[in-house]
């Protein structure tokens, strides 16, 4: 019971969306709207080489020919893409901070509120061994532990910096997993992305610490379009964490990120996300539209990519972290918890495309819907003709809390190889009355009992998270479900 | 009868059997005992021809023929029978239908006439009576929803109707209570005959109270490391396998 009590305490100790403050920082913004000039402006601000500007313009031209997708099971009023800022940078950080001392103190205060230790001393003094890249609105403001990582040859920096310092790597891999023409939001991102993290792990290197990026949308009416690129060279290993928050605002803000992962022979990448963008209030006003494209190419033999996500935030989530299993014996995993409450909508899942021999994938998806929310698991498992001996196992469970929410499961399964084995199971149910009664009879309040049971329901996924995130994620489960019973 | 010489076998890249020698004459009952992971089940699968078990060295001859060259069903026709440690469930195929297909396949292989439905029913009923197996069990799908005891009784029934000359019993006692053990043990003992050899693979001595062996071998780390009479089994029960494991290591 000790652990249980602890969980309950944690749940109780955290108030409602605590990240909903606004930081008052002078920002350098591009004018509202989207056109070629804005893209040239962003590119110029970033001092980008010509090829990248060309690539952005190509993406923009393509985007103009595309239509916004309507197949996800989400509803939102049409987005006016001209009514948003595509570039917003904290002014003092315009020239890029040389050290943390140059970072705007207000900003540091922000990250402190978020619980992100940016000061290396603080980090070193503490137990955490995590290198952090913080992205504020569109710009990476600080990256810690660069030197320690450099010793191992690990590159961890803002992608804008990587464009300048490691142009060959960026040119080789950018858009190689998610091409600029991939889908409406990814194409938009390709045209206007502002910053994000870049990671390169050299051959045979076991990255000595967790790498982490915290994303924060601060300015109002600002879209955030970050782009993350992680390359794990042969035989290397890396674990990467991503966290996101935004202030409470009553307009909707667009977040359209792209994440590309490349794993070469024998490499593995573990990518964990705790997504806690502002979900809007209990009446469904405000909140982030989280339209994200995340994809991994398991290019090498025996490579492995594992996605773990805990999605509690955003008004609308639309994301399918996927794996293209190209290399023989490569492995893809997807562990997901998606919690929706109030008027939130989530349409999330994964795609596992099996191309190579003996590739295997595992999908564990847990959806929890409360309030008036709608949660959909949407996934594709595809066994191509050459995927001899491939395996997939999928388990997708939905839990409903309350009478007005919905939980949906839409898996697509396509198998073209007889030796490939696909297994899929899905269930939908509510929290069992006897479980709830049992907890309450033992003195636990109904709301805490729900959090407790939901955490148990999510356990298979939660235990995949790195320790630092697991505790935070557990608390989030409790907070996200506040007001869902009684 | 059965003559195994210097048998090496691997599963994937792991060598499990590392030079096993064993000879069983007609009518003899041998027991193979050994610690977990010694290669007991591997031996039974190699002898019955399961895919994935690769023989890298050595020979197995049975009644003068090279057993290793034969498909599983040919071995069954030749008289090799494996009672599985975990009998496989086959949904949708009734036990009766399965038995008839097996018996007639084997009879055909042996140049005997195949049973028609009526004769077969009579033939099976003689055996089911002895093993306390009801008609109801014959109607159900093979091993589906059977209790541990029912599964093992069904294995013995198959052994009875297929009339093998070499029966391999792989951990037949696992998952059985005392009563079930007795029924199975007596069922097997009733099937002892001068033409029929048996190889009883077991971790515990208790099954050997019911099926008394002529020879007992100890298998450790892929080799026979000791051979004796039934008293060796009793000794092992007392002292465990520690000595052998060390010797093998």
């Amino acid at each position: 019971m000790a652990a249980v009590t602890e969980t309950v305490d944690q749940v109780q100790s955290v108030e409602k969306y605590k990240y909903g403050f606004v930081t008052d920082i002078e920002a350098d913004q591009a004018p509202k709207g989207l056109n070629e000039d804005i893209i040239r402006f962003i590119s110029a601000k970033k001092e980008e080489p010509e090829w990248l500007l060309e690539w952005r313009l190509k993406a923009y031209a393509h985007w103009l020919t595309m239509e916004e997708p309507d197949w996800p099971k989400v509803n939102y009023p049409p987005i006016d893409y001209q009514d948003s800022y595509y570039y917003s940078a904290p002014k003092s950080a315009e020239d890029g901070p040389d050290s943390l001392d140059d970072v705007d103190p207000e900003l540091l205060e922000t990250y402190k509120k978020l619980g992100i230790p940016l000061h290396e001393q603080e980090v070193l003094a503490g137990v955490k061994n995590v290198a952090v890249d913080a992205v504020f609105d569109s710009v990476s403001v600080a990256t810690t532990f660069k030197d320690a990582l450099a010793k191992e040859g690990v590159i961890f920096c803002p992608i804008s910096e990587a464009v300048k310092d490691h142009p060959d790597l960026v040119k080789q891999y950018l858009g190689s997993v998610v091409p600029y023409s991939d889908n409406y939001f990814a194409t938009l991102n390709s045209a206007v992305f502002t910053d994000g993290s870049f990671v390169y792990i050299p051959k045979g290197v076991d990255c000595p610490m967790e790498l982490s990026t915290y994303f924060r949308i601060n300015a109002s009416n600002t879209g955030q379009f970050e782009r993350t690129l992680i390359i794990a060279d042969e035989g290397s290993h890396v674990s990467y964490l991503e966290g996101c928050t935004a202030p409470m605002r009553d307009e909707n803000q667009l977040h359209a990120a792209v994440v590309e992962l490349v794993a070469l022979d024998d490499a593995d990448i573990k990518y964990s996300t705790v997504q806690n963008w502002y979900p809007g209030d209990e009446n469904g006003v405000g909140g982030i539209y989280n339209f994200v494209t995340k994809r991994a190419a398991c290019r090498g033999k025996n490579s492995k990519v594992s996605w773990t996500q805990v999605e509690t935030g955003s008004a609308i989530t639309w994301k399918y972290p996927s794996c293209i299993l190209q290399g023989d014996n490569s492995v893809g995993e997807f562990y997901s918890v998606a919690i929706t409450n109030n008027y939130q909508q989530a349409d999330t899942g994964t795609k596992m495309i099996h191309l190579g021999k003996n590739t295997s994938s595992k999908i564990i998806a847990k959806g929890i819907s409360a309030g008036k929310s709608q949660s959909t698991y949407r996934g594709l498992v595809k066994m191509m003709p050459k995927a001899e001996g491939a395996r997939n196992y999928t388990q997708c469970d939905s839990l409903l809390i309350g009478k007005e929410c919905g939980a949906h499961t839409v898996p697509y399964i396509e198998s073209r190889n007889k030796s490939a084995k696909v297994e899929h199971e899905a269930t939908t149910s509510k929290i069992a009355d006897d479980q709830l009664f049992y907890c309450r009879q033992r003195g636990i309040s109904e709301e805490d009992a729900v959090a407790l049971i939901v955490n148990g329901f999510c356990r298979d996924v939660m235990q995949e998270l790195p320790m630092e995130f697991a505790v935070e994620a557990q608390k989030l489960v409790g907070i996200s479900l506040e007001g869902s019973v009684g | 009868m059965l003559e195994i010489k210097n048998l090496h076998a691997k599963v994937g890249d792991t060598e499990i059997l590392k030079g096993l020698d064993l000879t069983i004459n007609a009518g003899e009952v041998h027991a193979i005992m050994g610690p977990n992971g010694a290669g007991k089940s591997t031996l039974s699968y190699v002898l019955s021809g399961r895919e994935g078990y690769e023989v890298t060295e050595g020979t197995v001859s049975y009644q003068g023929k090279n057993l290793l060259d034969m498909e599983p069903e040919v071995r069954a026709g030749e008289g090799v029978f494996l009672a599985f440690q975990y009998p496989v469930e086959i949904p949708g195929v009734s036990t009766m239908n399965f038995l008839k297909a097996a018996v007639n396949s084997v009879r055909k292989y042996r140049g005997e006439s195949e049973f028609d439905a009526m004769d077969f029913l009579k033939f099976v009923r003689e055996q089911t009576k002895i093993l306390n197996i009801g008609d109801d069990m014959l109607k159900r799908a093979v091993n589906v929803g059977f209790s541990g005891g029912e599964k093992k009784r069904a294995e013995v029934l198959q052994m009875a109707v297929l009339a093998p000359t070499l029966a391999l019993l792989d951990e037949t006692d696992s998952g059985l209570d005392v009563d079930a053990l007795r029924i199975v043990g007596e069922g097997v003992t009733a099937l002892r005959s001068p033409e029929r050899s048996m190889l009883v693979i077991t971790h515990y001595q208790r099954l050997l109270d019911y099926i008394v062996p002529d020879v007992v071998h100890v298998l450790a780390d892929g080799k026979i490391v000791d051979t004796g009479d039934k008293n060796l089994a009793i000794e092992l029960e007392k002292n465990g396998y520690a000595n052998y494991s060390e010797a093998a290591a």
């Binding site: 919905g406 499961t409 898996p411 399964i413 396509e414 198998s415 | 009998p87 195929v93 297909a101």
Partner: protein, 432 residues
């Protein structure tokens, strides 16, 4: 209408050329409504989510405008054990053939007849029920059927238990007629019991489209068992749409064995609209060559305390392609729903393919819903077990495949009729 594909336009033109009797203006209205709906978008294309995996462009080889009559040799129609008594109706190219049929005596409360006759003898009853279940929205194939309503079977059972099954044979004869659209009506009320054994066959060479539609109304404790065997000829295309509506404590059992034809799409929508309604949807599909077999089902749990159980299994050989799309929808407030769905496919060759979309859409919280899916080869353990008992590999394989498929027959078909379908499955295995 200008942007219709040539084949869709051909259907529209053909309908326009057919003169219908003015005796039933309501029926002409219904046909017109179907035609209008079909004319809007024409035949479905894979751009529509529901048709993602099935492309009807094979219809281009069919001459939609051709019509005619045919004679048939009755010996080709036998498919049931001779000792089984039935009330038999035979349709050739969608039209009732009284000389090939033998309806026999019917107990009180039971009506079994052709739609063309019912329109004359029971116009009120037909008008009351025909075209009442389900709209044409997202159902272009049903709309097409409706535009061509002409004949089909009508079964109405009220307060009666019909012990003798009704036998239906739909014959498609390609040489004489390229497309036909049988429209059928099944109504069971007040604890009625009825079993329908239905066979679709193609005779002769050449392609055709058999596009049948069924409206099934089961009310107040009635129980309908609807078992179908689809045996179309090699170039035949079989589309069918079942719309079933279940009332209080009503049960609709559907079993479909799809085993031939170039392309088949068998669509079943069941709506459970009163407490205690229950449906069992079961099916077996076997394919080889370049056959395409699509089973698409949708079960709507509209009110509290209804249940459904669904199992489809298939074995695909050659270059055949199977499609399974199953949806369970639980409406807001439909507490106490129990919905189970399972789809399993054996791929027997390197070129066979299965595409599946088992879907749950749930808007109520007090529910138990689940689906399962598997695809792969025969289980190696089972195969080894059989071979270790002396059974040759080829026989062991067919025993396992038949066992795998027969399970659905045992689950979905009343005991008296299981052998009809098991024999068909065994024949299919042996003919490979």
């Amino acid at each position: 209408m200008s942007n219709l594909s040539p084949i869709s336009q051909a259907f529209v033109d053909q309908q326009g050329a057919v003169a219908f009797s003015a005796s039933a203006p309501w029926l002409d209205q219904l046909r017109k409504a179907g035609l209008e709906s079909f004319s809007a978008d024409g035949l479905p294309t894979p751009k529509l989510e529901d048709w993602k995996y099935t492309n009807l462009n094979v219809l281009e080889k069919i001459d939609a405008g051709q019509r005619g009559d045919a004679a048939i040799d009755s010996t080709q129609l036998t498919w049931l054990p001779t000792e089984l008594a039935t009330h038999k109706l035979v349709f050739v190219n969608g039209r009732f053939q009284s000389e090939l049929s033998a309806i026999g005596d019917l107990p009180k409360g039971v009506k079994v007849l052709a739609l063309s006759e019912a329109l004359a003898s029971e116009p009120g009853l037909v008008e009351e029920h025909l075209g009442q279940i389900g709209g044409f929205e997202k159902a272009p194939v049903l709309a097409l059927n409706t535009a061509f309503i002409e004949d089909g079977y009508v079964v109405m059972v009220d307060k009666a238990e019909l012990a003798t099954p009704i036998e239906i044979v739909f014959v498609s004869q390609a040489k004489n007629e390229a497309a036909h659209h049988p429209r059928n009506l099944i109504v069971a009320k007040n604890n009625a019991r009825v079993t329908i054994l239905e066979r679709h066959i193609g005779i002769g060479e050449g392609g055709y489209l058999a596009n049948s539609a069924f409206e099934v109304l089961v009310e107040d404790g009635a129980h309908v068992q609807h078992y179908r065997l689809l045996e179309d000829s090699a170039d035949g295309i079989n589309l069918s749409s079942v719309k079933a509506k279940l009332g209080k404590d009503a049960t609709y059992d559907s079993f479909v064995l799809s085993m031939s034809g170039q392309l088949s799409r068998n669509e079943i929508h069941v709506s459970c609209e009163a407490g205690g309604a229950h449906t069992n949807l079961n099916g077996v599909y076997v394919g080889r060559g370049d056959q395409h077999i699509d089973n698409t089902t949708l079960i709507d749990h509209v009110v509290p305390n209804t249940s459904s159980k669904e199992t489809y299994k298939g074995a695909l050989d050659g270059k055949s392609r199977g499609v399974f799309q199953g949806a369970i929808i639980v409406a807001d407030g439909a507490d106490g729903t129990d919905g189970r769905m399972s789809n399993k496919t054996l791929l027997l060759s390197d070129d066979a393919e299965i595409d599946a979309k088992p879907q749950l859409e749930i808007y109520a919280d007090d529910v138990q819903c689940a689906h399962g899916f598997t695809a792969g080869e025969l289980d190696e353990n089972s195969l080894f077990y059989l071979r270790s008992r002396g059974i040759p590999e080829a026989i062991a394989r067919s025993m396992l495949v038949e066992g795998f498929l027969d399970e659905v027959v045992e689950e979905g078909v009343a005991e008296d009729y299981q052998d009809i379908f098991k024999t068909r499955i065994a024949d299919w295995m042996n003919s490979g």
